[in-house]
């Protein structure tokens, strides 16, 4: 059994408030017919009946945190556009590919109209005149479902000229990628959308809201972020903030994978649900497989520094995870039980980031590859003590200074808080180092055990 509904592999509903997954129980949740029968497009109708600025305020008041990784409030992001510069665009980031993350694909496959309605509400509220919906190239079903939904929505008058007969007009253009993790970085996404190699742009400007697509103000929002808007438009900011905590309101999608009894994707209450709930709770993953013990877990996607059982009682609340030495990222928890070969596990992530480096910044292009090669050598039992030091040295050339890590009662170690400093434009380089640094800091003995002692053998007869 792979989840409670055969049509939504991995998804488990549970007895919890649901904002973005409310239609998942229906096998036909992706159709316009089902969408309309379940309050679909009523949030849009409600929004269009009010001035755009009021809808923008509603989103600001609800503090809808970005669900792509950085957790920046959407309403604030929309407000960063420079005065009087037109046109402005919306780019939807559906390039989900952070290791461990599985939620945006499900939202696109299961409820594409909800995403389309979210795009429309965002364009209306923030005055964006065209929307580009960028879906990861490898997601064939998501592309088919969103294309079908867009065709239905255009035909029925929900998208395009004079939406629902109003003065609001916007095109939503389906665009798709072709396989490159780094394109999930918003300025790389824009480069890709302009037809270029998907390399991040030099910052500042820090936000494409200032200078983005074609040099114009551009809002880049994640799929899940936008999927929240129809519910918000229907029920209002007060209802939204009544779920979760003040600083992390609403719900969020979290995928828990790895060595748990029941891996799954859950819509959880933001801010209060803890990692212990998720990994051990009966309504979530039900504990570690085969009665094994928890060794470590990645709390927020492959880029995040690791946690150990010491951090299990932390909630999904950014203000607590940062000081504890990691980040919530994109809602992806990867669980390792006591049988896990830690250096090897770290290698699977470092190899990913080394492979996905776009090559623009030297510390990432060279450093990531070095980290991968040194780590491979150690895993293969050919590493030396000098290799361990070199891992740290290379890591410091990507991220100078103290790198965040969790506290450890076993090692008597205090946490180093997030974030880190970086010598690269984007987070791919630091992400290659994060698993190495966590593994080395928290489980150094496993690396030491792999090291081969090599003695210098004196060669006779060559002394001068």
């Amino acid at each position: 059994m792979t989840g409670s509904y055969p049509h939504a592999p991995g998804f488990w509903a549970g007895d919890r408030p649901r904002i973005v997954t409310s239609r998942f129980e229906h096998a036909d949740s992706h159709t316009l017919e089902r969408y309309l029968a379940t309050d679909g497009y009523s949030g849009l109708r409600k929004a269009l009946g009010r001035p755009a600025s009021e809808i923008h305020d509603e989103v600001k008041n609800a503090t809808v945190l970005g669900r792509g990784g950085a957790g920046f409030p959407a309403g604030t992001k929309w407000g960063l556009t420079p005065q009087g510069v037109w046109p402005r665009y919306l780019v939807v980031n559906g390039d989900e590919s952070e290791p461990g993350t599985y939620k945006d694909r499900l939202l696109m496959e299961r409820d594409p109209h909800q995403l389309i309605e979210g795009c429309l509400i965002a364009c209306y509220a923030a005055g964006l005149s065209q929307c580009f919906l960028y879906i990861r190239g490898e997601m064939a079903l998501a592309q088919e479902r969103v294309a079908t939904a867009l065709n239905e929505a255009y035909a029925a008058g929900y998208v395009g000229r004079n939406v629902l007969g109003s003065r609001f007009s916007v095109d939503i253009v389906l665009h798709w990628g072709a396989g490159a993790y780094v394109v999930g970085e918003e300025t790389a996404l824009i480069e890709s959308l302009e037809g270029n190699r998907g390399m991040p742009r030099l910052k500042p400007p820090y936000f494409p809201a200032a200078i983005g697509l074609y040099g114009q103000p551009t809002i880049v929002n994640n799929v899940e972020t936008l999927a929240n808007l129809p519910w918000l438009a229907r029920h209002g900011a007060e209802a939204y903030t009544s779920i979760g905590t003040k600083t992390s309101p609403g719900t969020r999608m979290v995928a828990v994978s790895g060595h748990v009894k029941r891996p799954g994707v859950f819509e959880i209450v933001n801010g209060t649900t803890t990692f212990r709930d998720l990994i051990f709770g009966d309504e979530f993953c039900g504990g570690i497989r085969d009665g094994n013990e928890l060794k470590a877990f990645v709390p927020g996607g492959g880029s995040a520094p690791w946690f150990t059982p010491d951090q299990l009682d932390l909630p999904f609340e950014a203000s607590q995870i940062g000081p504890a030495g990691s980040m919530l990222g994109s809602g992806a928890v990867m669980v390792m039980d006591h049988t896990t070969d830690i250096p090897k596990a770290a290698l699977t992530l470092t190899r990913f980031y080394a492979h996905e480096s776009c090559g623009k910044c030297t510390p990432c292009r060279e450093g990531g590859t070095w980290l991968e090669r040194i780590l491979s050598r150690i895993v293969d039992g050919k590493g030396t003590h000098a290799d361990l030091d070199q891992l740290t040295e290379v890591g410091e050339s990507i991220c100078p200074g103290a790198f965040p890590h969790a506290s450890s009662s076993r090692l008597g170690l205090a946490a180093t808080p997030f974030p880190y400093r970086m010598n690269t434009i984007c987070f791919v380089g630091p992400s290659a180092y994060a698993p190495v640094h966590s593994a080395l800091t928290l489980f150094r003995e496993e690396f030491e055990a792999r090291i081969v002692e090599r003695k210098l053998i004196p060669v006779a007869g060559v002394a001068s």
Binding site: A52, N151, Y214
Partner: protein, 204 residues
């Protein structure tokens, strides 16, 4: 094997017209070329350059950045086995070894009958269903060695033809914007005024 066909040029022009700048259609047109030929030929890239106003070198520069584009023929089916953390924790490495044995090729190779190209892939966003793989970007979840053998047998026997199109076709449904409903794309420099609905009044 070559430039885009007449039908595809028509489709290409329709796609280009959706963007404020033609260059934005580069990746969608590369997919179109790959759908036509199964891989991306030099002739197709030159043709795409003509259509979007770029040199063939610029199109090549973009194309080679992205892993899905192939510049030499590949199998009718490209099988991508995920090897990133969640899948690795759940046995992806064993599955890859088994796949190499079963198909008699190394990762990156194509079977001698030209049917299957085997590749190692990075995270496919199905981490709860590990280990997973894609065949021409169609998923298979929690794949055991026996599942893999059955998959290969089914592909060879043509039993999955209805579900899995030949390599090059990703989505089988295309967006089509009805002319009477389209707002239409204009170059950014042609827009200087805020959208009409930002006048402080409700739009409906």
């Amino acid at each position: 094997m070559a430039r885009l066909s007449e039908d595809n040029v028509r489709l290409a022009r329709e796609i280009i017209a959706r963007y404020p700048k033609a260059r934005s259609a580069t990746i969608p047109l590369l997919h179109l070329a790959q759908q036509q030929d199964g891989w991306v030929t030099n002739e197709a890239m030159a043709h795409i350059g003509d259509l979007v106003g770029a040199t063939s070198a610029e199109v090549l520069g973009t194309a080679t950045f992205y892993e899905m584009f192939k510049f030499e023929p590949v199998g009718k089916y490209v099988v991508n086995i995920c090897g990133t953390m969640s899948c690795a924790l759940m046995g992806a490495e064993d599955l890859m070894h088994h796949a190499e044995e079963k198909l008699g090729v190394r990762l990156g190779g194509t079977t001698s009958d030209g049917l299957i190209t085997l590749e190692r892939a990075e995270c496919q966003a199905a981490c709860t269903e590990a280990p997973c793989l894609q065949v021409n970007y169609r998923y298979r979840f929690r794949v055991t060695n026996a599942d893999f053998d059955r998959l290969v047998d089914d592909l060879r026997a043509g039993r999955l033809d209805a579900e899995i199109p030949p390599h090059g076709t990703v989505a089988r449904v295309r967006q089509s914007i009805p002319v009477d409903r389209a707002v239409g794309a204009v170059p950014p420099e042609a827009v200087t005024e805020p959208p009409v609905w930002l006048d402080g009044k409700a739009a409906l």
